[in-house]
């Protein structure tokens, strides 16, 4: 019974925090874009624009839900849910910290530990494609259809690289369990360099993972599915109100999840000085490392132009994929000689 109560409380806390973070991630992005582009960003609602997410939420809820004349009204409504739910489910296995003592109980700072945690994550990210493809198809609009098809092709191509780039980490950590992977990265070499995977054998793996992750989350320079200057808004052109908000939240949920995953796999997760004595500090380290990724995401968006569709495919299959294979061979060789 206690276990169930503990799990429910943790789920509520994690999702509360994650959803709040997502709302403020949108504000963070708009603020940073504003600064990079010589403007202020949102600053009308609340002090420093801090209530902007709330205003946006209210706006989305009260907008008219326009449904196009589509032969598939059910699919049209299901698609945003299909893309949001897998994005949120990823947070179940992400380890935000180690374990703490509270009320005489040992409480882990993650919802659950799955021994095939990574497989679970990749399975979920594969499911997210359905939402986008169905949205494009059910919208009964040419722009949406093109956006949905582009998306499917892009996600499938880059998922290969995303998955393969992680295998080097698996070889080194010897486990698919995310908690074991983080534990493998504790400690330092020569008391100076942290034993994070990004520093030890996996810088290429990290780079591949990061590029593929940007593509996987449909962000600049790989934001073709929703290239607004070509396809209006891509797969979610016809969506409005709450359904549009779901796609919006799903996109940010994916970005946050992928950043958290990159932190876990390559940047040592919660590891940092003083974590052994004060495990709650680990959550702070984790958040800071993830924030760095989020900033890089936004920075890319502010700076780079967009790839063309065929160039994107060529880059994925002819550059990233061979490099990912090379990285696996390299990692395996290092593991056997070590």
């Amino acid at each position: 019974m206690d276990v169930v109560v503990e799990a429910v409380i943790k789920i509520v806390i994690v999702f509360g925090v994650v959803l709040t973070c997502l709302a403020y991630l949108a504000l963070f992005e708009r603020k940073i874009l504003g600064w990079i582009q010589l403007r202020y960003g949102p600053n009308r609602v609340g002090p420093w624009g801090l209530l902007q997410p709330l205003a946006d939420l209210l706006k989305f809820l009260f907008k008219e839900d326009v449904r196009p004349a589509t032969p598939n009204p059910i699919l049209f409504s299901v698609a945003p849910i299909l893309s949001l739910v897998p994005a949120l489910m990823t947070y179940a296995v992400i380890p935000f910290g180690d374990r703490i003592e509270l009320f005489g109980r040992e409480i882990t700072l993650y919802i659950t530990s799955v021994n095939v945690g990574l497989l679970y994550l990749f399975a979920l990210s594969g499911l997210g494609v359905y939402g986008i493809v169905l949205a494009g198809w059910a919208s009964n609009s040419k722009y949406s259809l093109l956006g949905g098809l582009r998306s499917a092709a892009q996600l499938i191509s880059y998922e290969l690289t995303l998955t393969l780039s992680v295998i080097g980490v698996l070889i080194q950590a010897g486990s698919l369990d995310l908690i074991a992977i983080v534990r493998a990265q504790s400690g330092t070499y020569f008391g100076l360099i942290p034993k994070w995977h990004i520093f030890w054998y996996q810088p290429l793996g990290f780079l591949l993972f990061f590029i593929a992750a940007v593509a996987e989350t449909n962000r600049v320079p790989f934001d073709l599915p929703e290239a607004e200057t070509e396809l209006v808004a891509g797969y979610h052109t016809e969506y409005s109100a709450t359904k549009f908000a779901m796609f919006y939240v799903a996109e940010y949920a994916n970005i946050l999840a992928v950043s958290a995953l990159a932190t876990t796999l390559f940047l040592g997760g919660w590891n940092g000085p003083g974590v052994e004595r004060l495990p709650l500090l680990g959550v702070f380290y984790f958040a800071m490392k993830t924030a760095v990724f989020l900033f890089i995401y936004i920075w890319l968006r502010a700076t780079l132009p967009r790839f063309r569709y065929d160039q994107l495919m060529r880059f994925g299959w002819k550059v990233l994929l061979p490099l990912a294979f090379a990285n696996i061979v390299f990692s395996a060789a290092m593991a056997t000689t070590a």
């Binding site: 874009l33 990079i36 582009q37 010589l38 403007r39 040419k142 722009y143 093109l146 600049v220 320079p221 934001d223 073709l224 290239a227 607004e228 200057t229 070509e230 209006v232 968006r301 502010a302 700076t303 780079l304 132009p305 967009r306 790839f307 063309r308 569709y309 065929d310 160039q311």
Partner: protein, 402 residues
Amino acid sequence: MAESEVLLEVERSPLAATMMVNMGPQHPSTHGVLRLVLTLDGERVVEAKPDIGYLHTGMEKLAEHKKYQHVITITDRTDYLNAMGNNLGYVLAVEKMLGVEIPPRAQVIRVLMAELQRIASHLVWIGTHGLDLGAMSLFFYAFAEREKILQLFEAVSGGRLTPSYLRIGGVMADLPDGFTARVLDFCREFPRALDEFDKLLTNNPIFRMRTEGVGRLSAEDAIRWGVTGPSLRASGVPYDLRRVHPYSGYETYDFEVATRTEGDVYARYLVRVQEMRESLKIIRQAVEKLPPGPVKCDDPRVSLPPREKMLTQMDALIYHFLLTAEGIKVPPGEVYVAVESPRGELGYYIVSDGGPRPYRVHIRAPSFANVQALPLMVRGQLIADVVAVIASIDIVLGEIDR
């Protein structure tokens, strides 16, 4: 089922090989209200048909109902990114019919304004070009620079987008105090912004992948379709009216005609960026050689007498009355004068019947001719390239539809 009916069925089926997509008139990257009817095979363009006319406001017809000096404000609104240049083309045409002599100071001020306007127009182009290809921040940087030029225009004329600064026989008023210093400040700061654009776009591998070899236009095709301006020069034809048929004293300025030979989107990009640097050169020279003197000719047929004289001398009062009540009487005849706008050859063809209003005004809009070559440039390209090509020919719908 007869064979023809079967074929009809195949065409109607959703699996038919081609798909029709309407790009515009409400589309974020058709630069206004251009409508393109695209026939797509997958993402590849089989055919593109530009459909224009959504911004038609009847400006040429309207000009027939206005006095000569009032048409200037209409020209501002045709190519709204090149208001000073439009003014220049129009007043040059009317002045040619009247045969009036323009004081040297006014000539230099006109060149100064036209070149500032060229930079402002190219800044809008580079910003939207970047935006169309996904580089969003550049748009803001370009507009921040353009803002400085608009403030200069505001200082001389009170207007920003539509200054209506030029007059038949000169310019509206002399430059305000400290204006040349502000222009020189701009000339000093602007190269730094250009260098920054170079970092963000010119040398950006993604940008080059998107633009090199895309939307090629050969020199022969460009000439055949009447393409002018940077789009023509990027195809290797060094045709620049400022050099070929100089007006307003352009022959006395030292500048290069930027030319490339590739004829693709990237070449057109490089030509325009180079043109901004050349315009800066011209602006510096103009500031240097700015002579003292009047800014309006003293021909009583076209310019109002000074207020002092109008209040004290009888003949000045009469001229003043005639000019405001009747307008400028242009001798009968017809004239065609072309200037180099940021988009190409901007021509004004004016027919006069001797009255104070033009009998006919036709504007040879460069964008109108340039957009005709669009289907040729995008045939066989991807839909993403269409966006890049439209941005690269830098159309302004205001002057296409007029």
